[in-house]
Symmetry: C2
Subunit: 424 residues, 2 copies
């Protein structure tokens, strides 16, 4: 094993037990090109950099590229494997602002990822091996299986997602307590596909269940997939990330927060996300070691994340209009959510055709067709009603984020009609 990897593992001490075999091997190459480049930063003649500069020292960038952005040309330079320091700092501050429970808690600086999926992949490579088990609700984003199962060979165990309209923390606990020392748990609120966020009551039950499993001897890596953070439309719903609760729950629980600009800031093609770490009793050095492992993994996978994307995010967050604009966009989605609630209340007969799954947040809601297979309904909806939907885990997912308010009534009428016709 590389000595830099060994050093990081030594720094992590008992927390190194969270790492997968691959996670133990990885390191940030401080001694290589990147580390040597950092040492030469202040030099008068700096011949370390794998980029090109003009005779006057400015970035050598062609106008045909730079005309596409209103940012400074330096946005075309590498951002580094950790991400732009300014963006990491701003995102960290914003997390505390959005999650007041984080005040006074200890957690790492965020490392920039190529959005949510890449954050999941980094976490998967660092912490999940074929000997471990990925634990997810049975209603989950299908890419989890591609990342953990196909790409990394990690077995997946499902638990029942809802019981009586609430998150089934009991079913989750049973899976955490099932044989196997190390469990990788993904919690995704607001949830894709269902658009459900844990209520305050759910949240307490979830945290207690993880604590119990940890106290029973399990080592648990909790991945908080906070992709749709902030898009909560009801009172009584837990509107902070559970990262705060897990950040100091137990020495046997590693909390990994995965979040980003994509969904909550409506910039899907920007590809800027973050991964942040915390566990009870973590020292500053241990958190730095996890950041170095993450950045080393980024280096080994994509080298670094779009610098233009990161500069665009820095500029947006510094814009005095950011908060008002975000509220305005939230209101667009909230109005559609309210309209769906109105439609469902106005049409009690829809309950004969489908069951609306618990939803209170996010981009989506799901319905479970009664007496007919979801995939059959999906195909029929396209052919007969020119209505496109997604089928996941036997549910029909409806992305109200993409449907103008005036079309929502027709959407639900189409779904109900399709089911009724197929059953007739």
């Amino acid at each position: 094993m590389n000595t830099l990897a060994e050093k990081l593992n030594d720094t992590l001490g008992p927390a190194a037990a969270f790492l997968s075999p691959k996670g133990r091997r990885i390191y940030f190459p401080y001694g290589g090109i990147l580390g040597q480049g950092a040492e030469a930063k202040a030099c008068d003649i700096n011949a370390t950099i794998g980029m090109a500069f003009e005779e006057d020292g400015s970035p050598l960038v062609m106008p045909c590229f730079s005309k596409g952005i209103t940012l400074d040309k330096k946005a075309f330079l590498y951002a580094g494997s950790f991400g732009l320091p300014k963006l990491r700092e701003v995102w960290r501050e914003m997390q505390i602002e959005k999650n007041p429970s984080l005040v006074g808690k200890t957690f790492s600086n965020p490392v920039v990822t190529n959005a949510l999926t890449h954050g999941l992949r980094v976490a998967a490579e660092l912490f999940a091996g074929p000997e471990d088990t990925l634990v997810t609700p049975d209603l989950y984003w299908d890419n989890y299986s591609l990342i953990f199962g196909e790409a990394l060979g990690v077995p997946q165990a499902l638990f029942n997602t809802y019981t009586d309209g609430h998150f089934d923390a009991k079913a989750m606990k049973a899976q955490l307590l099932a044989p196997g020392d190390k469990k990788i748990l993904i919690l995704n609120f607001p949830n894709n596909p269902t658009g459900y966020t844990a209520t305050d009551e759910d949240a307490a039950a979830i945290v207690a269940a993880v604590k119990e499993a940890a106290d029973a001897g399990k080592r648990i890596v909790v991945l908080l997939d906070d992709a749709y953070f902030g898009l909560v439309y009801e009172k009584g719903v837990h509107n902070e990330s559970l990262f705060a609760e897990f950040s100091d729950l137990s020495e046997r629980v590693l909390a990994v927060k995965l979040d980003g600009t994509t969904k909550e800031d409506y910039v899907w093609g920007l590809r800027v996300g973050f991964i942040t770490f915390a566990f009870k009793g973590a020292t500053a050095d241990q958190l730095k070691a996890l950041e170095a492992k993450a950045a080393g993994n980024v280096r080994s996978c994509i080298s670094n994340v779009s610098s233009i994307g990161q500069h665009l995010a820095i500029a947006a967050y510094a814009d005095p209009g950011y908060r008002a604009q975000k509220k305005e966009k939230y209101d667009v989605l909230k109005a559609r959510y309210d309209e769906i609630r109105r439609i469902l209340a106005q049409h009690p007969e829809y309950a004969d055709a489908f069951e609306a799954m618990p939803f209170n947040s996010g981009y989506f809601m799901c319905v479970k067709p009664k007496g007919v297979d979801a995939e059959t309904v999906r195909k029929y909806l396209i052919e007969k009603y020119s209505t496109g939907t997604i089928v996941l885990s036997g549910l029909i997912r409806l992305a109200f984020s993409t449907i103008p308010t005036f079309k929502l009534a027709r959407l639900f009428q189409n779904v109900a009609d399709a089911i009724n016709e197929l059953r007739a």
Copy 2:
């Protein structure tokens, strides 16, 4: 194994033998969200998409983000795991234009990657397993080890890079013929760190050596790392990618071209690269299957590549000024290369202090200090001469891409002085 993966493997037939265990498992999830979304594309009501749109159907994007680009707001939408079709088409055409030997040859469409490193990672995951051997010259970019070794556990075998000022194809052949059925060979011209590109003579010897090893029963995946493509400063240097030669060399040789915008178009933070496949006798279906494997791997790793980066590239390549601007930037680097040649010719005494390694292209050149350790020289250069350099494989790498022409004489004088002082 997933049935979609099995189907792709069946389509590949004997070519499936190029795949790693992980490569065999991966598939593009046509049946999942992405495939279902594609089926619903023409629907009047399309509730499939995990993005958000305004009431008028336009992308729901905040002005604080869109003000940063001069492109249409659609640049903030997802680009898809294969990459934007337009960009893939344009890049393919440009490859044929830049490599006339490709005319009439059969090769896949390029799949978009998060630049070169990610292309290497995709290739590594699809084709290299712990049972295989990565074969590289002993002068190589250190990230190869992080990608193949640390991240994927693939053993690496080195061969001597240069003999008599030329690429040592004989040493390469010996490593290809060493025990082990499957070899992953990386060829990187112009080379990082040395700035060397194979001469026409070298190129012929390299291709013949691979052919011989394949005929002797080896299965060889040749990764062409064409990061610095086009930056060739001498006559007699092979100024096309070797991809053309390998694309139809043997059924036992898979050619994988890795290239991108980063270095050759001077947009390091853009993160747009490509991976392209070819092998002798490949059918259109087999090449499509490799594209699907690559896109499935992209999906499992980063979901998709910066859409803004891809749109910027499309706009740049459509710009009537693109070719002239590229020539202008090439001339900047070429002038520095010429200046270095002049300096070395003017200072024969430098040969007492260091040996200039073969160089004729790219961003860099390397010197090998005589009688003193390269790392010692590097540190001394920073302290005493405020001159930053990179040490790789016992060589001092000098990035003339970053040094204005008027500082080059001082750079070389500093290096020579440092070595002489350390030896004194």
